[in-house]
């Protein structure tokens, strides 16, 4: 082994240590806690206990799924129209505006929504005042503390994570590829479905990943906008670790996290398979 190879190995050492301490060890601890009881003895009780949270998992996945779909539906046209702008500086400005809310603290953004959609919040107050002008009395919409409010919070907070990767792949599509499509006889709609959409698939996939994963494990959004009416799996895990609802139990919390992690891994795996399959399917009809 020569010196430069040694040198390179030495330079990667800090990262190896970092990965070990902050990735491998925590995951190992999660696994350890999942399969032990408070006394540190091996047990499967924690895993068995998860059965009672089946409903919570389902509702978490359902809300995250709905939020992801809404994000995709909103983000694609946004990303597409920004990427089509002729002036590059305008593109950058638009992207910055999309990013701007993310420079503000996550909690503050979510609190802001609370004050908007509360029963006595800005929106209801305005509607009541407006209808009152015409002599109507109105009780106001109940928007907060619903599943809809949680989805709203997820969509609002995670939308930029969907816009950015899609925008990036769209700007990478070579103009001459689109011209080639037109040249071969594709009209505007066909250009979109046969070239632009399939070529932006990698961006869509990573957008979905980046929205779904934080959405499925969130607990702040459900707590603030769901008002404790809808428990998500993130809330349950938080409760076990902080003891908000009775005793502190790292073991059940860890088991819940482990299962969530596995569920996310499985869905990511399916996503990636799906990506490859569409690629093959579109290419391999013979």
């Amino acid at each position: 082994m020569n010196d430069s190879v040694k040198m390179r190995k030495a330079m990667t050492a800090p990262y190896t240590v970092w990965m070990a301490v902050f990735v491998v060890v925590p995951i190992a601890l999660v696994v350890y806690f999942s399969f032990t009881n408070v006394g540190g003895k091996f047990t499967l009780d924690n895993i068995k206990a998860i059965g009672e949270f089946r409903g919570t998992y389902l509702i978490s996945i359902e809300l995250a799924f709905v939020a992801t779909v809404i994000c995709l539906i909103l983000a694609y046209p946004i990303a597409y129209s920004i990427s089509r702008m002729k002036d590059e500086r305008r593109q950058q400005t638009m992207i910055m505006l999309i990013m701007l809310p993310m420079w503000m603290n996550f909690l503050i953004r979510t609190y802001a929504w609370m004050t908007l959609i509360e029963d006595t919040g800005l929106i209801n107050t305005f509607i009541k005042w407006f209808l009152h002008l015409f002599g109507y009395e109105f009780e106001g919409f109940s928007m907060i503390n619903t599943q809809g409010a949680i989805i709203l919070g997820m969509v609002y907070n995670f939308l930029p994570y969907m816009v950015l990767p899609i925008y990036t792949v769209l700007t990478k599509i070579d103009e001459s590829v689109i011209e080639a499509g037109r040249d071969l006889g594709a009209s505007g709609r066909k250009i979109f479905t046969m070239i632009i959409l399939p070529q932006s698939a990698p961006g869509i996939i990573s957008g979905i990943t980046m929205v779904f994963v934080p959405a499925v494990s969130t607990f702040i959004i459900s707590k603030l906008l769901g008002g404790g009416m809808t428990y998500l799996i993130g809330d349950i895990i938080e409760n076990y670790f902080l003891g908000n609802a009775g005793e502190v139990n790292y073991n059940v919390g860890a088991a819940l996290s482990l299962v969530l992690m596995i569920l996310i891994l499985i869905s990511m795996g399916i996503m990636n398979r799906f990506d490859k399959e569409t690629g093959e399917e579109a290419g391999g009809i013979i």
Partner: protein
């Protein structure tokens, strides 16, 4: 033979800059026509107008006798080979070629048949399932050709298709393209800045510069009878000297009277005289029509490239003799080696090898480097 495309008084400007100035061009059916010129001369713009990617500010685009100005690209019977191939990377070779056929709603068996015929034509049999990114530049180029030809265009437009290939591959592809053109019996409109490529492939060459057509003609016409100093200099090497036409078949230049084969000029009209480096014979000083001093000599393989100073004007001569630097030599020029041109705006800009050096020549071959960069 009938014309397949006519361009009539085409003008195009971008941001107040006139790119095409009143271009008129007739393209004969089933011929190989080349648009040749340095970068920024308007050749690619002309091609894009024919393809339908660009609408002219004024003028008519005629296809098969019909005006097609407003017709969008996807409804025109012309197809394009793009400089960077512009293949669909999300599809494999088969589906790239089948793309145009699927849009035309052909049946699967028809598509399969046409695609394999095309793959055979471009020597890519067995590549159906390959991904685009796994192919070399030359193979991608062939896929692009097959993809455009499979939809049976009447005219194929090629925008510097060989620019990104290395020299050897480029030579092979030139031959192949030419034979494909003959085999398919369709019109090719080929854009290039490479004069050698243009001379060896074309039936007809259109030399362009600064948005204007400088000359149209067969490769032989263009080479032997350049219309002005720009064309003479752009196509091959040329010595271009000031001369005065004394009368028909008699011209004065470099303080000597020469017999030539040109006529029809005014008496004592100032003209540009073109003499190709390979048309000058080196003789002993006493036998020469002109004498000069050798200032440099470069071995080029088949010949020596000799720079000779004649009364302060540097000539380039290509000869199999090898005079020494500093030697006084005589030059002999046959009457039919002398080509007379009217004075033009390009007079005195080209054709003097005073500042000539290999390096400089490469730098001044602007087209090659710049245009490739532009298209990165």
């Amino acid at each position: 033979m009938a014309d397949v495309i006519n361009l009539k008084n085409i003008c195009v400007s971008f941001d107040d800059e006139q790119i095409l100035k009143n271009i008129c061009l007739d393209v004969e059916d089933k011929k190989f026509l080349t648009l040749l010129g340095p970068s920024g001369c308007g050749k690619t713009t002309t091609l894009r107008i024919i393809a339908g990617f660009l609408q002219p500010d004024s003028g008519d685009v005629i296809f098969d006798g019909k005006r097609i100005n407003g017709v969008p690209a996807h409804k025109r019977q012309v197809n394009t080979i793009f400089q960077r191939y512009a293949l669909f990377t999300h599809l494999n070779v088969f589906e790239n070629i089948a793309f145009g056929l699927r849009l035309r709603k052909k049946s699967d068996s028809e598509i399969k048949k046409s695609v394999s015929e095309m793959l055979e034509l471009v020597n890519l049999k067995g590549f159906e399932e390959r991904e685009i990114n796994s192919l070399s530049g030359g193979q991608q180029q062939r896929v692009a050709i097959a993809r455009a030809l499979v939809v049976n265009p009447k005219v194929l437009l090629l925008d510097e298709p060989l620019g990104a290939l290395d020299l050897k591959l480029r030579k092979d592809m030139q031959k192949e393209l030419k034979s494909i053109q003959r085999e398919m019996g369709i019109t090719f409109i080929y854009v290039t800045h490479d004069q050698e490529e243009a001379l060896s492939m074309s039936d007809k060459i259109v030399v362009m510069n600064e948005g204007l057509i400088q000359q149209t003609g067969t490769p032989l016409d263009i080479y032997n009878e350049p219309k002005n100093a720009f064309v003479a200099d752009f196509i091959g090497e040329s010595n271009i000297v000031d001369g005065i036409m004394r009368k028909d078949f008699s011209v004065d230049f470099s303080s000597h009277n020469f017999t030539c084969v040109d006529s029809g000029f005014k008496t004592n009209e100032p003209v540009d005289v073109v003499i190709r480096p390979e048309d000058v014979d080196v003789v002993s000083p006493d036998k020469g029509m002109l004498t000069g001093t050798v200032t440099s000599i470069t071995f080029k393989g088949v010949f020596y490239e000799v720079i000779v100073d004649i009364d302060g004007f540097k000539w380039m001569i290509q000869t199999t003799d090898s005079p020494r630097v500093g030697e006084n030599i005589g030059l002999y020029i046959e009457p039919d080696a002398i080509h007379i041109m009217h004075k033009s705006e390009y007079s005195d800009l080209y054709g003097d090898y005073s500042s000539y050096s290999e390096e400089f020549d490469e730098l001044s071959d602007v087209g090659a480097v710049q245009e490739e960069e532009e298209n990165e």
